[in-house]
């Protein structure tokens, strides 16, 4: 007989007792990181207003198809993380491990596609010092790229935690927190995708 670490998902949907998901400290990271990126988003909009022609020409050479594919890849990775955390709560370690592996593969796919896009831009002569648009593009998406790499490291660590034969009482919060960080990576890309690939200038 297996015992779940928490209530089943459908039941937990109906719960009325509110609690902080994951470690409280992870929310400082989430809110702090999102606030920092928000300052970057506003900076983008400010410079777009200063030189709309530069931003319009930058937008016109962006590979929106790769960015669209990457958005869908990250969303799928987030769904895999929800599956991993849900399976772990129900003590199905094998399913949790498989789902975490799918999320890692999604993250790796994102990095490969983003690298292809960087390579395209560099070979076309669009470098960080080309103009303000590309300075911001390489800086903001580069910062996000680092977040994805960090997210992969966390997911690898979570796989190790979820495989423990005798789980620590603290492990559930660790797994939830790791999942929440991964969703932040997804969330930041959603706004970057809109700003760098879709906002008219």
């Amino acid at each position: 007989m297996t015992h779940s670490l928490t209530k089943p998902a459908a039941e937990s949907d109906a719960r009325t007792v509110r609690s902080i998901p994951g470690e409280p400290g992870i929310w400082l990271v989430i809110f702090g990181d999102f606030a920092a990126f928000s300052a970057l988003f506003v900076t983008f909009m400010f410079y777009r207003g200063q030189s709309p022609e530069t931003f319009a020409s930058g937008l016109s050479v962006m590979n929106v198809n790769i960015a669209l594919a990457n958005t869908l890849v990250l969303l799928t990775g987030s769904l895999a993380v929800v599956q991993a955390v849900g399976a772990y709560k129900m003590r199905d370690a094998a399913a949790a491990d498989r789902a975490a592996l799918v999320a890692i593969l999604c993250a790796a796919t994102f990095l490969v596609l983003k690298s292809v896009e960087y390579w395209q831009k560099i070979t076309q002569g669009f470098l960080p010092n080309t103009n303000t648009f590309f300075t911001l593009y390489y800086t903001f998406t580069g910062l996000h790229f680092v977040h994805v790499i960090f997210g992969i490291g966390i997911l690898i660590y979570l796989r190790a935690v979820m495989k423990r034969q005798v789980p620590d009482t603290h492990d559930l919060k660790v797994v939830e927190s790791g999942g929440i960080f991964w969703h932040l990576v997804d969330l930041l890309w959603i706004v970057l995708f809109a700003l760098f690939y879709l906002v008219y200038s």
Partner: protein
């Protein structure tokens, strides 16, 4: 009666939200690339849909909908403030 049983270990509501996120992504891509609307309208809609997606990620993937209300309200307030700031910068500069 609506089926609320989970798919795998994913609550059905989260699966529905994921489908919506994919749908919103396609819609923003179409609006952003087809240039059917005026620049300001398109930007307002694209960013509104982007922030709606962010809110869904927060509420359902990060489970803020089960968190103490002040946390959810802080998240919503931050999203709204950033959206207004971005649109104000777009319109004013």
């Amino acid at each position: 009666m609506m089926n609320s049983s989970p798919v795998g270990y994913v609550p059905r509501r989260v699966l529905t939200v994921w489908s919506l996120l994919v749908g919103f992504t396609i819609v923003t891509w179409l609006i952003g690339t087809d240039h059917l609307f005026s620049p300001t309208t398109a930007t307002a809609v694209v960013l509104a849909l982007a922030f709606a997606k962010v809110r869904f990620v927060g509420s359902d993937f990060m489970e803020l909908r089960h968190a103490p209300r002040p946390m959810g309200l802080a998240f919503d307030g931050l999203l709204l403030a950033v959206y207004i700031a971005l649109m104000a910068m777009y319109a004013l500069y």
